[in-house]
Amino acid sequence: MECVVQGIIETQHVEALEILLQGLCGVHRERLRIHEICLKSGPSLGTVASEVRLLCDLEQPEPTWTVRHVGGSMRGAGADQISVLVRPTVESKVSKNVLRLFYSLGYKLDHELLKVGFAFHFQRGAQITVIVSSVNKMLKLHATDEAVPVTPGIQLVEVTAPTTTENYTEVVAAVSSFCEHLAPLGVLEVLRYLHVCIPFDFSSVKESGEAIRKLLHLSKPGISTGVVPTAAAAAASLMSDGGGTTL
């Protein structure tokens, strides 16, 4: 299982966010370049339609592959009261021929993306990962070298932490607490429905840019112009004292 919060930020403010995150996390960023292939079961396969994601880490000297399955998010009154999405996820590292295997099993390519950016991994009440990435689409099949942004000028911000059914309350609290440092700055919107919608909308990459803008508009109109500069200001403040301030 994992706890997750997602938001978006204008690319022009990403550098400021990076400095801010470095101050908050106390660790250096890691570069991120993930080729994500989303597969769906063929029409007659399975009791219900199923979806699986293959992630290829292109940042490694020899690209590594992971299969990821994301289940339905936690629902109910308890889930409604928390500002973080909790959902079951299972991952398995696999050998590089995984795409061929799933094609052989009757899965079809639904869409593919290239996420390019950076990540921070750190311990803060939970093992938290913050990923800031530009989401790109491929103009030709698997042509990661020719990828172009789905939403030019906007990047995705994801805060995640692994959890279990036993300790998710604590992990939710840790993620929420961390997000509070970012939320007032406006760089991260704690929007569960945004998270639910993004994977769906990315399946149609032509429309997703508009979808994100629309969601942004729906969630917090005017956020990108009015609040994000605050993050830049905070980052400037961090830089002025060496970036070592813990917020």
Binding site: S44, T47, E91, K93, V94, S95, N97, V98, R100, L101
Partner: protein, 222 residues
């Protein structure tokens, strides 16, 4: 990792594998000064597609199987023999397959027995039976030569050891013999350096032979 050959017992026509043969083979290994070194167990599962329209069953692989090996307990291997495809995965891939609800386990076979140390060789003798059943369906033997990892460089020493083993077994006048089938590693994209994927492929080959033997035995009786 060290080279390994997985052998299967080929019963003589009209005979079948039995626990008695397993005991005899075990005694044979012990008579070669094999030192018993614990138990071992592997599990192989055949998967079948869950389809909404049975007429489309032929669109999906019928020889899709998964195997867990004691040499890599945190890993799981998928094999589609017809397509010469072997995949290595963390064992959590089994959970993912369950959640996808597109394939389900049809039948599982367990390979289990004792392992022995003979100098630089490690031998594992085991019976093949359906999981949760004592019915013996076949016999396998793993021969591992610890100093060498190259498939090609080890071929001669493995063949020589196998000759010695066959001689020893034949003296007991057992109704059959061990066979090492060519697993055609190159077809699976596997190189000369031995890995657990090589072992998984060998088990896929061996289990097909064991099933063929059982079917031949049943045909003979009928």
């Amino acid at each position: 990792m060290p080279i390994k050959w997985v052998l299967y017992w080929q019963p003589n026509p009209g005979t079948t594998a039995s626990s008695q043969i397993v005991n005899e083979v075990t005694q044979c290994v012990e008579s070669m000064n094999g030192v018993k070194d614990g138990r071992w167990k592997s599990t192989l599962t055949f998967y079948k597609p869950i389809v909404r329209d049975q007429s489309q069953l032929s669109d999906f692989p019928r020889d899709f199987l998964g195997i867990s090996l004691p040499e890599q307990p945190s890993k799981y291997f998928f094999i589609i023999r017809g397509q010469r495809l072997v995949l290595e995965a963390d064992s959590s891939i089994q959970t993912i397959m369950e959640k996808l609800q597109s394939y389900k386990a049809r039948v599982s076979l367990t390979f289990e027995g004792f392992q022995y140390q003979l100098g630089d060789f490690q031998l594992r003798v085991g019976k093949v039976s359906p999981t949760h059943s004592e019915t013996l369906r076949g016999i396998v033997m793993e021969v591992e030569y610890l100093p060498i990892s190259s498939v090609e460089k080890s071929r001669q020493v493995m063949e020589e050891f196998l000759d010695i083993l066959q001689d020893s077994v034949s003296k007991r006048s057992l109704p059959g013999h061990f066979i090492h089938a060519d697993s055609m590693f190159a077809d699976y994209g596997l190189g000369d350096h031995y890995t657990s994927q090589h072992t998984a492929v060998q088990y896929a080959v061996v289990v097909a032979q064991v099933i063929a033997s059982v079917q031949a035995g049943q045909g003979g009786r009928n």
